[in-house]
Symmetry: C2
Subunit: 245 residues, 2 copies
DNA sequence: TATGAAAATATGTTAGGACAAACTCTTGAC
DNA sequence: GTCAAGAGTTTGTCCTAACATATTTTCATA
């Protein structure tokens, strides 16, 4: 019937019990130990077996339900969800994307200066005269140009260097500084490139570019980044997961 | 200090108490009664005032935190989040989008037939020989062509009619049938249009189209829809909210 | 045999209490 | 006057307990 997943709980750990449980169950699903459609051990039994309270077990399961890994139905039980419904929370950058796919990303910083920009400041919820670090980069994958990325960073990160950006990608640099973007608004469109863009991206006359502008914030609502990117449409598409709760 | 929001709880309602509370608090924020940065009444006090238990109040607040409406910090208290961080869960269709903006959307069904398509079936996690309803529509806004939408519906919805589709939009039709898409994977790109697309969308020679392919599933993981759309890039962009929890 | 009522099963909601941990602010010692 | 310890506040974690509700299964009855 229900499959019993091996779980070890360390009560002396600072990691909350419900999270320890959620992690291990999540791994059991990711590893294929639990297959889509498999019935899941019910809450009460699981709590009893692990010597945890039902609320604790419930919270762990809820975490997985939120990720789309499990489906609960009252009266029926909990089952492992269809793999297509699994959703990784993600707020990735192009650099991360390329790394994951196995490309060899590199970056040329085309420009790097402190500026004021009323429009960007407004989008980031900053005063109009706020000093911003403006960065323009050309991103290459295996030495082929892929994207031109214009970014603006809020005051407090004006000291990000060219070298950092060429080594690691913007989101990596920010992560290292303890910045955790939590929510972003993106607008995606398409247009014909400007002559300068066409040259940098080595585009043929009729080829379009895919554009994305993004504002990102951390959990407290502080501005993290404003970005205005354009991509070679032949070589890049944007993957998005949308969900409703 | 902390602002007390007027809340009335109906214990005889079938709506869970925590949800009643969450809704009313959410409205207080949406209406501007609570402003970003405002301190929020603490959990214990709120529970006492409303004669609810702390877990119930906590759950309501958690709901708002998940939506990005509130920010909690241990020892400090809960505050209303910056408006930029608010996130509406959404899985909208072009029809909904146009309605919201105030456009006058209309639809012409270009084709409507039952087919088999191995590639689409695979994407929807259906057997390769599954019968699908293939729909091709031209979407207009104020009588100007805006998008060509190719969609495939799984067996079980083969009886959707042309009239339904012209009246309401695909997601409306599905909603009416009790289908609730919960998660979708979208891939967004750009390309030069085919001659047929150029003609239907009345595009000038060099204008590109924005493309989106989408697979949508319900909570149980059953296929809901496969879509392959292309939009006039001049008149349309795709808004996405990305978040990390 | 078919139908409906009851039992079994599992998740959903709510309550109340205890202690832990993070953060602020005050107070006291040097 | 500065710095550190401690008190106070608030959210975070965890437990026990009870009842509600949705769904399937079983069983008795017509």
């Amino acid at each position: 019937m229900a499959i019993q997943v091996g779980v070890t709980i360390d009560r002396s750990s600072p990691v909350p019990l419900y999270h320890q449980l959620a992690e291990q169950l999540s791994m059991a699903i990711a590893s294929g130990r639990l297959q889509p459609g498999d019935p899941f051990e019910n809450e009460v039994a699981l709590a009893e077996r692990l010597n945890l309270s039902r609320p604790t077990v419930r919270r762990a399961i809820q975490e997985l339900v939120n990720q789309g890994l499990l489906v609960r139905r009252r009266g029926l039980g909990t089952t492992v969800a269809n793999r297509k419904v699994h959703r990784r929370a993600e707020l990735t950058s192009l650099y991360d994307d390329l790394m994951r796919v196995g490309g060899r990303p590199s970056t040329v910083v085309l420009s790097h200066e402190v500026v004021c920009d009323e429009r960007v400041a407004a989008a980031l919820d900053l005063p109009a005269d706020a000093e911003l670090l403006s960065i323009v980069r050309l991103r290459l994958s295996d030495d082929r140009p892929l994207a031109i990325m214009r970014n603006w960073l809020p005051p407090g990160h004006l000291d990000v260097t060219r070298a950092e950006l060429e080594a690691e990608g913007l989101y990596g640099v920010l992560r290292r500084r303890g910045v955790r973007p939590v929510v972003a608004h993106q607008t995606i469109g398409a247009r014909t490139p400007t002559p300068s863009e066409r040259r940098h991206l080595r585009l043929r006359p009729t080829e379009p570019v895919l554009t994305m502008t993004r504002v990102a914030f951390d959990a407290v609502g502080s501005a993290v980044e404003y970005g205005d990117h354009c991509y070679r449409a032949q070589d890049y598409s944007i993957e998005v997961m949308v969900d409703q709760r």
